[in-house]
Symmetry: C2
Subunit: 195 residues, 2 copies
Amino acid sequence: MTHARTDVEQVELANTAFYEALERGDFDGVSDLWLDAADLADAETYTGAPDAGGDADADDEADPDDGGEGQGGADAAAEGPAISCVHPGWPVLTGRGEVLRSYALIMANTEYIQFFLTDLRVSVAGDTALVTCTENILSGGPAPQEGDELGPLVGQLVVATNVFRRTCDGWKLWSHHASPVLAETGDDEDDEPPA
Amino acid sequence: MTHARTDVEQVELANTAFYEALERGDFDGVSDLWLDAADLADAETYTGAPDAGGDADADDEADPDDGGEGQGGADAAAEGPAISCVHPGWPVLTGRGEVLRSYALIMANTEYIQFFLTDLRVSVAGDTALVTCTENILSGGPAPQEGDELGPLVGQLVVATNVFRRTCDGWKLWSHHASPVLAETGDDEDDEPPA
């Protein structure tokens, strides 16, 4: 129990460090908090061939090999395991190249960003940790005119699921998925379902 | 390698089974694919006190205990570890009660739903698997008038990150995070905007 509680604390610190690095616009800090190839050396990734293997049609169920070995699985696995990242409203980015490039892009277009994290939950099982939180974001772009200090500040309500892996260099991000909260849900009886 | 490939195949089958159960409106099938309390008995969850411990302000950095033991951690951990789920545009749902209730609600309001999965990626590390995919969703609500078979069909472009844990009863969902793809990102110069 004591060991597990320590893990939870460490994961929480790693999660906080991630958002603090984003607030500082610290690209190297953000990079260091993502798993790299060496960290994932024991992992195995399979990338489905486009439009194959991932179709949930009932027809596919009869053939458990569908989309596996037969459809480019070996080639795809050679790419190695990968981190993944979804920014609010974005498609999935996969691999350090795509993911880190996206942070460079976001930092280049963000003059100011602050995260107020609420609803934080950390769950650790073995060498993996799952963190969910609400990111109450206040951000501003570059100044629209010379002399202005900041672009207009914008508030955003975003929820995130962050998956961390234990490494010899601490807990590192394997996946970050953030999405806009667009409407209230039915998680409580008096809430309204989103349209 | 052979062992890992088998894991990847099993995870892909569990992922497909999840979407097929949703397509059939099979509530029990969906429930069976989520981790239950027994599966997560070895895990440890910490829920941050509201507005505490999750704030990424630099001030918090100086005190590593902030938000840990001192702020209701022991009480919160007593709730036990938990599954989590984010539907597109929704806040985070936590625990089997909230998560399964949301599926009952969605099924009650969905006459027809089909998932065409693309961009499937499976990555296995130890007893955890990470799946990312694009859910091309075609769905229809209840018939607006008597005699109509279905409500109007709606297409939706959604991306999902699904986290599975290995159990003695196969791979089970620990987390599902799905979000709408709202705009293009710039991850590849030659990509076309989804809008």
